[in-house]
């Protein structure tokens, strides 16, 4: 495997590190093949994509980190939250405080100009701490009450962000620095080990490994006792409590992990855009994340990634590679046509595929499995087919639980 990857140095850095962590997850040869194919695809993309494409992919990856976070809280642990934008904002402002330009005039917002490797983890940690502080109060509430209290968090957060000018720059927002290799910020063309890399490529090299780590981390946590506790709480709170799950600990765990990932995502977001506007962290953003986990697939890492692509990349793809004529349709500007198409897609998807993209893929796989069984004439039951993929049972089980749960 390492031989395959070494041909593509950039992706190799990420994957070799990741490989150690993944061994337990990669039980089957088929999964290994899929992973290698995916890495090859990434490497090809990395070398041929243009700035437009990097723009879409990089931003989508940043959002995907927060989508994973929301999926931990709402998908795995079943706690409805519209507050993800607030924690992203906290991450973004922690990052700008630690990593922003030191002020040159008395009115400029604070900034310490510290390097990337300090402000990025700090952003996650501060968001997580705040999550730990708010959690005990918020998690007393259930269902929609929690949802709307988290909405209040977002509304109040925007008001704070707009007025805490010493940190946020007030209504006009503030600047932020991109990560830098040595002295050169990565939003400019750089020579790295003798290879000329565009801004888009360098950001990709920073963001992709972080997303990969986040995804692996979430996937692994969900296979531990803590992760199973999250899901037990979602499926039946009282039942979980009777089975010995500490409800408070499980919910808090999910809340803190989710806030941490949101914080990381917000920090990267600020740094990528080199500017943070206080109105960014509003309800619209939170709703987009909810859409992402539902469309991608609740309680699924792959679902989070697919959901992020659908919600954050697809509208841009529609805009850039305009399938709709630039003049619009029936007097409706093309931007609005895209919005309509997008709204309809969401509705159609929700109506016809309850388990999201992941459900669609699982269904496809199940179908393929049945077809291959039918072809293999033997009338015996199919332990062999299921045994080929030990993860399969658990996944089908999970689908059933998700579909039946009333979050």
């Amino acid at each position: 495997m390492s031989a395959d990857v070494s041909a593509t140095p950039p992706a190799g850095v990420a994957s070799r590190r990741a490989a150690d962590v993944t061994t337990r997850l990669l039980g089957t040869s088929r999964r290994r093949v899929v992973l290698i194919l995916a890495l090859v695809a990434v490497a090809i993309f990395f070398s041929v994509a243009n700035d437009d494409q990097f723009q879409i992919v990089n931003v989508t990856m940043i959002y995907a980190i927060a989508v994973l976070g929301l999926n931990v809280l709402s998908g795995y642990a079943g706690q409805i939250s519209l507050g993800i934008a607030f924690f992203m904002g906290i991450g973004a402002y922690t990052a700008t405080w630690l990593g922003g330009t030191p002020p040159t005039s008395p009115r400029a917002p604070v900034g310490l100009g510290l390097p990337f490797w300090i402000w990025l983890p700090a952003a996650g940690i501060v968001a997580a701490l705040l999550g730990a502080l708010i959690g005990p109060t918020a998690l007393r509430l259930k269902g929609f009450y929690l949802g709307i209290v988290s909405l209040a968090l977002v509304v109040i957060g925007v008001q704070i962000f707009k007025n805490a000018a010493f940190l946020t720059g007030g209504n006009s927002g503030r600047g932020m620095l991109p990560p830098a290799f040595g002295d050169t910020p990565i939003n400019q063309q750089n020579d790295l080990f003798g290879i000329a890399l565009s801004a888009g490529q360098q950001f990709f090299l920073v963001i992709a490994p972080i997303l990969a780590l986040a995804a692996l981390f979430v996937a692994n946590v969900m296979r531990t006792r803590a992760g199973r506790a999250f899901q037990a709480v979602r499926d039946h709170e009282v039942g979980a409590a009777i089975m010995g799950v500490n409800l408070f600990e499980a919910k808090m765990g999910a809340f803190i992990l989710s806030s941490f990932l949101a914080g990381i995502s917000g920090a990267l977001f600020a740094s990528y855009n080199v500017h943070v506007d206080p109105n960014t962290w509003d309800l619209t953003l939170s709703i987009a994340f909810v859409a992402a986990i539902i469309i991608g697939g609740i309680a699924s890492v792959w679902g989070s990634l697919l959901g992020a692509i659908f919600v954050f990349a697809l509208p841009k793809v529609l805009d850039v590679y305009s399938l709709v004529p630039a003049t619009g349709i029936a007097g409706l500007p093309s931007g609005d046509v895209n919005t309509v198409i997008y709204g309809l897609l969401i509705i159609v998807f929700l109506l016809f595929e309850p388990a999201g993209f992941v459900g669609l893929i699982r269904r496809g796989r199940l179908l393929a499995l049945r077809m291959s069984e039918r072809n293999r004439k033997g009338g015996e039951p199919t332990p062999a087919a299921a045994g080929a993929d030990p993860g399969g049972d658990a996944e089908i089980e999970r689908t059933r639980l998700t579909a039946g749960s009333d979050a």
Binding site: N50, D51, D52, Q55, V59, K162, G170, N171, S172, G173, G175, M176, P185, N187, Q188, Q189, S198, G200, N273, V274, H275, D277, N279, T280, K316, D319, V320, Y321, L332, P333, S334, G335, D336, N338, T339
Partner: protein, 421 residues
């Protein structure tokens, strides 16, 4: 990165053909020729300069503001290109829809920043503020269709006209010095954002400079469903003049609420607070709004005594015959004239790189806009970047083509003259 999308490549190759044809007839008038320094968005072989346009083309801001303003820019450059271009250089526009959202503006900026020499338009304060740091790191000039004073402090942003802050000061100069109403009771209602804050800064300076008796400065939020609290404060303080740093939607609500509370002060509107929809025939607030004033700048639509307006009307007839009289169209057209001046100067300096365009902008003096706006001056310090400090107070008058009638004539008040940025 030299890679471009297939789409762009196709557009460029189409222009290359066009460029060959045009270069043939334009070569004798062309400036520097082969020695000119170029940068992103400048193709010396076809003599084409590409400008980015970030504007809302969909969503609620598109139809009333984004689309007419962008048509103004398009119309101006269509006329320029048809008349041989800028010293033989053709101008091409790449338009991107921002939906008036800062987030979409950032995405749109990142999509086009390698293809364009400068941004010929970035519409609205929030989207412009969102891209300003990106633009600065690219040394990209941005012509902003907003008059927020904070733009004057940004190196690469271009203001076209008198900032909001000075509009407020000039309005009160008119009341105190022209009408002779010394130390009147005044108030301000503003929306809680960057634009509103700019109005408030101007209002505070005006209170200090003209000895106004301030009865209160009331903010409102976008989610407010009634303006009684804000208007009642003005009424309780007995304000005779109330300035509104608002959008038309709130303007209607505030003026109507005032009347319903039996309170009809002299309302004075910041330029974006007014829209012709406010005085549409069916509107119940039309008779009330018609008693208000609006502070703005520039030639009235149809005033052919100004050569710039005469030219505008000619270009409209030729290239945008369906265009109705529209202040935003005029703004876009005027903005494009400034962009044209920058490019012309950069060509004469033989430097069309980003830094070349920037130097041309900083040394731009006395840009003649044919009376659409008074001649504008730019420079390198924030105070010099405020290109003009004059305004006109207009009475709102639905019988006029753009619904306003000149009241004060063009003037610069003492506070606006002295204001520091």
């Amino acid at each position: 990165m030299a890679t471009r999308t297939a789409l762009t490549a196709r557009v460029i190759s189409a222009f290359a053909i066009l460029g060959v044809l045009l270069a043939g007839c334009a070569s004798n008038t062309g400036g520097g020729g082969g020695t000119i320094k170029t940068g992103p968005g400048v193709d010396a072989s076809t003599k084409t300069i590409t400008l980015g346009i970030l504007t809302p083309l969909s969503g609620p801001v598109a139809a009333p503001i984004g689309i007419p303003l962008t048509h103004g820019i398009e119309t101006y450059f269509k006329a320029v290109n048809a008349n041989g271009g800028i010293n033989g250089w053709q101008v091409k526009l790449v338009e991107k829809d921002t939906k008036y959202s800062p987030q979409d503006a950032v995405t749109a900026y990142n999509e086009i920043h390698n293809q364009v020499a400068m941004l010929g338009e970035s519409l609205g304060t929030p989207p412009t503020v969102a891209i300003k740091d990106l633009a600065a790191s690219d040394h990209m000039l941005v012509s902003a269709a907003t008059l927020a004073s904070s733009l004057a402090r940004e190196k690469y942003l271009i203001l076209v006209g008198t900032p909001y802050r000075l509009q407020v000061e000039n309005a009160f100069d008119y009341i105190v010095n022209k009408l002779g109403d010394k130390s009147p009771k005044t108030g301000l209602i503003y929306q809680n954002d960057e634009y509103g804050q700019d109005g408030q800064t101007g209002y505070k300076e005006a209170v200090a400079a003209y000895g106004l008796k301030d009865v209160g400065q009331a903010a409102f939020a976008a989610t407010d469903t009634t303006f009684t609290a804000q208007v009642a404060q003005m009424k309780a303080g007995g304000a005779k003049y109330v300035f509104l740093t608002t959008t038309p939607v709130a303007t209607a609500g505030i003026i109507a609420t005032g009347h319903a509370l039996g309170y009809d002060p002299q309302w004075i509107l910041q330029s974006p607070a007014f829209a012709t929809a406010l005085v549409a025939k069916q509107s119940p607030v039309a008779p009330l709004v018609s008693r208000a004033w609006v502070v703005s700048q520039g030639a009235s639509w149809g005033d052919t005594s100004k050569p710039g307006m005469a030219q505008l009307l000619q270009d409209v007839q030729k290239y945008a015959p369906d265009q109705q009289p529209d202040g935003f169209f005029e703004f876009g057209y005027t903005e494009a004239k400034v962009t044209q001046a920058i490019i012309a100067k950069a060509i004469s300096n033989n430097d069309l790189s980003r830094d070349g365009l920037f130097n041309a902008f900083e040394s731009l003096k006395n840009v003649d806009l044919g009376g659409l706006l008074p001649p504008l001056n730019y420079g390198s310090s924030p105070d010099e970047r405020v290109p003009s400090r004059d305004n006109t107070v207009y009475a709102i008058d639905p019988t006029q083509p753009t619904s306003v009638r000149d009241l004060s004539g063009d003037f610069t008040g003492s506070a606006a003259q002295a204001s520091k940025f």
